[in-house]
Symmetry: C2
DNA sequence: AACTATTTGTTCGTATGTATG
DNA sequence: GCATACATACGAACAAATAGT
């Protein structure tokens, strides 16, 4: 290696605002830092508002706004009462995956985009699930299949049954990131399906829809599971897209 | 189809809490609903606190806590002053992808999990990018490659250069969901790399690291691009894992 | 430069709601 | 029922930022 030039005058510095003019941001940052550094464990109680007011030396409004923001971003929950207060949540991806639904509702996502990601990710998830299957998961899958056949009702219960297998496989795959991604995709699909009339659900998702996938996973056959998932998604994604087009067609003309 | 039983007496209803005992939750829900239903466009100003107090018939603290929560979840930004107020943000995935970093810092994600997802997703992203390349993107990629070679400095600037190509490809792929996922993965990688000393960055990421990938994309060769990305990630992910192990080994003994 | 007006940022006193003992 | 400890809520006041005059 020849010469290392440590500085170039045309290098653009990325200026950051020194400090937020807002005290609550500072409070949020300090509490968040304390949480992420492991000072608090899930279930632990943060100091009460009164104590926080004293320790930070700020007004009550600042503390309350900070705690609200931390609650909205999934870090704490708050309860009233003598044993109440702000409690640390077990951090998970639920508030994140819900955000993708908001993006869809705001028109930033399309169904083909969703389908493309599902087809890319979920066959691999099924493959991993098949490689890690055990008896407890086999039982969960069998119950989910039975649920798909048994739920003759419409509405939310049926939708729950439609997506149950996908949720189980996402958890089975043993990768929390994949779990989160699939969770977001399924929630999105759920949201899209929820916009149409319940009688459409039968056309969209017949009983036994997931039999091939689940059976391959239960049998512990990764390759077969991946292919079955791909086949299932090829069909389902097309149906979902057609259904949406019919509905938009009705609405717009 | 034989008979459809619309009701079973043992069907469990999913009861929902009638109302949150918290007024601010109600305010949040109504404002969010107004936003997602398209009543407000990005850049629009929400009513001032004073107006919201009147319209909702609640105290100022409630309004402020609601606005803080909406700010924390990426819906609005707030400014002080005569032309200030709460303004609707262009909804995007930044606050979501940042959440994955928090999950990592909280110890819910491991590097092998991250690597697995990157190897699954990013070759496909490179493939899609190569199929959609145009001159504007070609120029961006060339500048990114030049940046990788030109940045002999350490620290943040170098890290920016290391990830630039990945960000561009994510944007190029034409799928906002994939864009978001890759964004999250790169931010995570960025966070992991940031924990080690800058001199390690050279070992982790040499100049020309992305040449093969970028050239295939610029040439508009999807298959080659995907394979180049896979090869790049195979190497990089292994180096990242080794580096992390070295550092944890130092720390723990 | 000085002043005014508007809007968010912050504090405090007080009162209410909620759940435990 | 009562006392306690906590969050929740209201209202009034002042501070700070920033536009226009």
């Amino acid at each position: 290696m020849e010469s290392v030039i440590p500085y170039r005058s045309d290098m653009k510095a990325t200026f950051q605002p020194i400090r937020s003019p807002r005290i609550s941001e500072e409070v949020i940052a300090q509490i968040k830092s304390a949480i992420l550094s492991g000072q608090y464990q899930p279930g632990d109680k943060l100091p009460s508002e009164r104590e926080l007011i004293e320790q930070f030396g700020v007004g009550r409004g600042v503390i309350r706004e900070a705690l609200r923001a931390l609650e909205a971003t999934g870090f704490v929950t708050m309860r009233q009462g003598p044993n109440g207060g702000a409690f640390l949540k077990e951090l998970n991806f639920n508030h994140l995956t819900g955000g993708f639904v908001d993006l869809y509702l705001a028109g930033k996502l399309t169904i083909p985009e969703l389908n493309q990601v599902r087809k890319l990710v979920e066959p691999e998830v099924a493959r991993l699930a098949a490689a890690r299957v055990n008896d407890a998961y086999r039982e969960q899958l069998r119950q989910a299949l039975a649920g798909e056949r048994g739920q003759f009702c419409d509405g939310d219960d049926r939708m729950q049954g439609m997506t149950r297998v996908h949720f189980i496989l996402a958890e089975m795959c043993g990768n929390y990131l994949l779990h989160a991604i699939v969770n977001a995709m399924i929630k999105l699909t759920h949201e899209i399906v929820a916009t149409v009339e319940p009688q459409e659900h039968y056309a969209l998702h017949g009983a036994g829809e997931h039999d091939a996938v689940a059976e391959a996973v239960i049998a512990g056959q990764p390759q077969r599971a991946a292919e079955a998932m791909r086949a299932h998604l090829d069909q389902f994604c097309q149906k979902l897209l057609n259904m949406d087009r019919r509905y938009r067609g009705q609405a717009t003309g």
